[in-house]
C-alpha cells in the first residue's frame, strides 16, 4: 500500500471539510494510505502570500516540506494552490543548493528544522491518473448517475507546465479521463481552462473583478448544458459555490473530484459534507 503525507491546507479543512472526509474515504477505498502532517501550516498561498514576500513564502513552504521529509514520505495535496506553492518551492530548493542553504538558515534558527531536498509533491488528480489508474477507478464505480460534468482544471494544477510536466496546459485530458472513468460525461464548453477568477489575491482585494470572471465561466458552462461543475481545488470550489450564491442567476452544483468519486463509489453520503454547499447538491 502506498503512503503519502496528506497536506490539508486551509480552505478544505476549515470551510469545506466534506472534501477532506471524501478524500480520506476515497483514497482508503483505492488502497492509498494518507498520513497526517502534524503541525503543518498554510502552504502559503502562491498568489496572495507570494506577492508579499517571496523569502517568507519559501521559508514557510520549506517548513511544510521538512515535516514530510521527516516522515519519509512524499506529499499529497488536493488543492491547486497548495500544490503550486509546495511543488514550486520544492523544485527551487531541490535544484538550487545555494537557495536551499539560505532558506535552511532561516528554518534552523526559527524552527530547528532543515529541508534536504528529497520530497516529491503530488497533486491528487495526477496521482489518480498515473499511479492509481483509470481501471482501478472504474472497478470501484457502483452504478450512480451519468451526469454531464463541466470539468474545471483551474490554473495551478498544470501550470507552469515547464516544471510540472503533467499534461498539455492548453488541451489537457487527465482530469476529464478520471471523470469519465467514474461514469460521467465530461462536456466541452467555451473557454474551458479559464481561471475561476479567485487567484492571485484578486478575490481578497477586488471581489467584483473575480466575480466577473466567475460569471463568464458559469455562462459558458450553462450554455453547454451541464449538471455539475467538478473542480480539483477548494479555492476554485469556493469561488464557484459562493460566487453563484452572490450572482443568484445560476444554480449548478459544485463538487470537488473527491466528492464526485465518493458519490460514484457509493460511499456514505453523510461523509461527503454536501450540506454546507451554498448551491444545493441534489445529485
Amino acid at each position: 500500500m502506498s503512503k503519502y503525507a496528506f497536506f490539508l491546507g486551509c480552505i478544505m479543512p476549515l470551510r469545506y471539510p466534506g472534501i477532506e472526509s471524501s478524500t480520506r474515504e476515497v483514497f482508503k477505498e483505492l488502497g492509498v494510505e494518507l498520513v497526517d502532517m502534524q503541525g503543518a501550516s498554510c502552504c502559503p498561498a502562491p498568489g496572495v502570500m507570494r506577492s508579499f514576500d517571496q523569502t517568507y513564502w519559501m521559508a514557510v513552504a520549506a517548513r511544510n516540506l521538512a515535516i514530510a521529509e521527516k516522515m519519509g514520505m512524499d506529499v499529497l495535496t488536493i488543492c491547486n494552490g497548495c500544490f503550486d506553492t509546495l511543488f514550486e518551492v520544492a523544485h527551487k530548493l531541490n535544484h538550487d543548493p545555494e537557495l536551499r542553504k539560505r532558506i535552511n538558515k532561516i528554518l534552523r534558527d526559527s524552527a530547528g528544522m532543515e529541508y534536504n531536498g528529497t520530497v516529491k509533491v503530488r497533486h491528487f488528480v495526477e496521482l489518480l491518473y498515473r499511479d492509481v489508474g483509470l481501471d482501478a477507478i472504474k472497478s470501484k464505480v457502483k452504478g450512480g448517475k451519468n451526469l454531464r460534468a463541466a470539468v474545471h482544471y483551474g490554473c495551478h494544477f498544470l501550470k507552469p507546465s515547464n516544471i510540472k510536466k503533467i499534461d498539455d496546459a492548453e488541451r489537457p485530458h487527465v482530469f476529464d479521463d478520471i471523470v469519465e472513468a467514474a461514469g460521467m460525461t465530461s462536456v466541452n464548453y467555451k473557454d474551458k481552462g479559464m481561471c475561476c477568477g479567485a487567484g492571485g489575491g484578486v478575490r481578497a482585494r477586488t471581489p467584483d473583478v473575480a466575480l466577473k470572471m466567475t460569471k463568464e465561466n458559469l455562462t459558458n458552462m450553462t450554455a453547454a448544458g451541464v449538471d455539475v461543475i467538478v473542480d480539483c481545488c477548494p479555492f476554485c470550489h469556493l469561488q464557484y459555490d459562493v460566487g453563484q450564491a452572490q450572482l443568484k442567476e445560476f444554480k449548478i452544483p459544485v463538487l470537488h473530484l473527491s466528492q464526485l468519486l465518493g458519490l460514484a463509489f457509493g460511499l456514505d453520503r453523510d461523509k461527503l459534507g454536501l450540506e454546507v454547499h451554498q448551491v444545493k447538491v441534489n445529485l
Binding site: P17, E20, F52, V60, A204, E216
Partner: protein, 171 residues
C-alpha cells in the same frame, strides 16, 4: 510635442534581481494581454506592466492597481513566444510595491491571519462541529493543534521581517 520619459535601468536591474530575470526578452507582441482573463473584464493590460518594468518606470508601475489584477493564472506565461516568465515579473514587482507601502488593507488582513494563526482561514466553532459530524478530528492536526508549531511560524515571520511588514503595511 510630448516629452518622452527617460528609462531607468537601475529599477529594471532590481526587477531582474528580485526574480524577473526574463523581463528584457519581451518584444511587446501583446499575446499576454490577448490571453488575460482579468484583462477581459478590466482595463488591466499585462503587456504594459511588463513594458514599464522593462523601461524602469517605477513610479508608474509600483503604485498601480493594475499590478494587483493578475490572478496568476499563468496563461500568458504559457503562451509567451519569447519565454518571458511574466508571473515571476509580477511577483517581483508586487514584493517591491509592498515594501513601498502599497499593500491593500484587505491583503494586510489576510497576511495578519497567517501571522497570528499559521493559516489563511479561521477556525470557528461551527467548523469544529461540522468536522466532528463528518468523523474528522475536531481541530485539524495542523498548527491549530500544535502550539510549538505556531511559535516556529512566528519566528520564521520575524526572521524574514514579515511580521514588521504586516504590522506597518510597508510604510
Amino acid at each position: 510635442m510630448a516629452e518622452a520619459k527617460e528609462p531607468n535601468p537601475e529599477f529594471t536591474r532590481k526587477v531582474i534581481e528580485a526574480g524577473g530575470k526574463t523581463v528584457n526578452l519581451c518584444f511587446q507582441c501583446g499575446t499576454c494581454t490577448g490571453s488575460c482573463p482579468s484583462g477581459r473584464q478590466t482595463a488591466f493590460r499585462v503587456r504594459k506592466v511588463v513594458r514599464r518594468a522593462q523601461l524602469g518606470f517605477e513610479d508608474d508601475v509600483l503604485p498601480s492597481d493594475d499590478l494587483w489584477l493578475c490572478t496568476t493564472c499563468f496563461t500568458c506565461y504559457e503562451r509567451c513566444p519569447r519565454g518571458v516568465e511574466i508571473v515571476d515579473i509580477i511577483m517581483a514587482l508586487r514584493n517591491m510595491a509592498v515594501r513601498k507601502g502599497y499593500m491593500a488593507e484587505q491583503h494586510r488582513n489576510v497576511a495578519k491571519l497567517i501571522s497570528e494563526s499559521g493559516h489563511l482561514v479561521s477556525l470557528r466553532d461551527q467548523d469544529k462541529q461540522l468536522r466532528k459530524k463528518l468523523g474528522l478530528q475536531e481541530t485539524p492536526p495542523t498548527v491549530f493543534s500544535h502550539r510549538e508549531a505556531l511559535e516556529q511560524m512566528k519566528k520564521i515571520a520575524a526572521a524574514c521581517g514579515f511580521d514588521k511588514l504586516v504590522a506597518s503595511g510597508g510604510k
